[in-house]
Subunit: 302 residues, 2 copies
């Protein structure tokens, strides 16, 4: 059972030599994420993170690295690749800069505000259309709907969730869309609390760009509001940097409903189809069912 | 670099045979926790969790298992050991029941309320004095102070934290204590959001009893309030099951200050003294500095 790729310091030295990154002093596994194996890497030249990709589309990886480089060079606190995409222990791999700080258990309204503000700065930093090329569609409405329909048979016979399927079908019919013509560009797409680092009070990192895609900016704000305990503070922070157009203000609530539905469906898919040999994350599959229900102002009878 | 103990299904079958737990069908690593390696284990008899202890005191492990068994038998939704403590892949190991649900990213006030209510029920379920025997002291005031003093020299020369050390010394002098004579018994000691499972809206599990100890009940409430984004809802939930005595109400705020200081010191110790060959968790080491400062109603100048 391969749950986490293990790398020995000797294996990594040739890569460090090839890019002038000094001598490996330590390599420590990071307990975070299930898509990648990550290590804190200390060398005689500095502090880095080594990422081995366990699951990402290898075609798209150079596009994600280009995004991070562009954002970092524009002053966004995010990882900056210091090697090109390479291969290590049989997997695509890259070395990136290490950011200070860590995730917080219970974000404050002020930290939520900062997250919204940096999300807006990220949007502006990644506005060049060429940065969107080659990114797989993470939030495509038709693909999300297909993903739901692929799981219908399994969901219907599930002991706990079976009874909710007719309700979900109605939601998918009505809410699997967002208004057209919204301003956009590259969005992060996955700015959950475990993808934002703080160092003391200050936001010190936006990480994990591997769900970035081209879409409406306000959808990214909606995803982030859904994922943070102080949604309104996230929105205020966003607006403090980039005012929302009238069309975006009107689209915010529909986008939150679509985004909650999308994550409900992806968690459902992950729960019903665990992949062999991968680590499992324990996340409540119905958390996003409840978010949809709350956003609709309905009691879902749970 | 051993970051996670890997176990093959063949290795576990003799243990299943010895306890009538059926044939192993799948074993999937769980991406959670750094103290233990955990697997979801499916057998022909049911769904379980296999835990290998990477770091816990082996002397104390039977005491923790006894607690979980007692709480589970008293109706608390917590893991129930189905084997005694054994050895697997060279480590202490146990198989426990698997609970439904998962952790939530952004707990709601209602989920926080439920957490407080179940914490109170847990206290009442574990009130028998013999259950406290053999549990190491996780929150002992003198030991926390020693832990702080052991790190003083390293902390003073730390680039980011060095300037805070004089403030911390003052805090340790004034707040490393809680009122005497408070009612208590076995406390969970670590009821962070990643140790509570929800299934849809309903709390479905309290997990990770490996910091349980004998101490004041209100200290456990204080630890939980500090760790959850809706502290007041946690307290209301607790009081809905078990009314706080006047002495406990008066002690709640001092306990929150002590508890924040204790977790600030343990994170500081972990950050300054990473253990070789263990996985690193990225948690903001100053999150609890800020909590102490906020609880004191002071701006810490960060």
């Amino acid at each position: 059972v391969s749950v986490y790729t293990q790398v020995a310091p000797e294996e990594i030295q040739p890569l460090l030599d090839a890019h002038g990154l000094g001598q490996c002093q330590s390599l420590k596994g990071i307990a975070a994420g299930i898509e990648n194996s990550n290590y804190f890497l200390s060398t005689t030249k500095g502090e880095y993170v080594l990422t081995l990709f366990e699951r990402a589309d290898p075609e798209a990886l150079p596009c994600y690295l280009k995004l991070m480089a562009a954002a970092a060079h524009d002053g966004i606190p995010c990882p900056d690749p210091v090697t090109p995409l390479t291969t290590l222990a049989g997997r695509p791999a890259v070395i990136i800069t290490r950011l200070s700080g860590g995730t917080v258990d219970a974000p404050t309204p002020e930290q939520s505000f900062q997250t919204g503000a940096w999300l807006a700065r990220l949007h502006l930093a990644l506005a060049a259309p060429e940065l969107g090329r080659g990114l797989p569609p993470s939030h495509d409405r038709a693909l999300v709907r297909e993903r739901f329909e692929r799981n219908l048979d399994k969901a219907k016979v599930h002991a706990e969730w079976g009874g909710l399927v007719p309700l979900w079908q109605g939601w998918v019919e009505r809410f699997m869309t967002i208004p057209a013509g919204l301003p956009g560009g590259v969005i992060h797409g996955d700015l959950f609390t475990d993808n934002v680092l703080f160092d003391g009070g200050r936001l010190s990192g936006l990480i994990d760009f591997y769900y970035a895609c081209s879409d409406a900016w306000v959808l990214d704000l909606a995803i982030t509001m859904n994922a943070w305990p102080h949604a309104e503070a996230v929105a205020e922070g966003y607006r403090s940097v980039r005012a929302l157009h009238e069309t975006e203000e009107a689209a915010l609530h529909p986008c939150r409903i679509f985004a909650a539905l999308r994550f409900m469906i992806s968690r459902l898919d992950d729960a019903l189809n665990p992949r062999e040999g991968e680590m499992v994350q324990i996340k409540d599959p119905l958390e996003y069912h409840r978010k949809v229900a709350n956003l609709l102002g309905e009691s879902a009878g749970l």
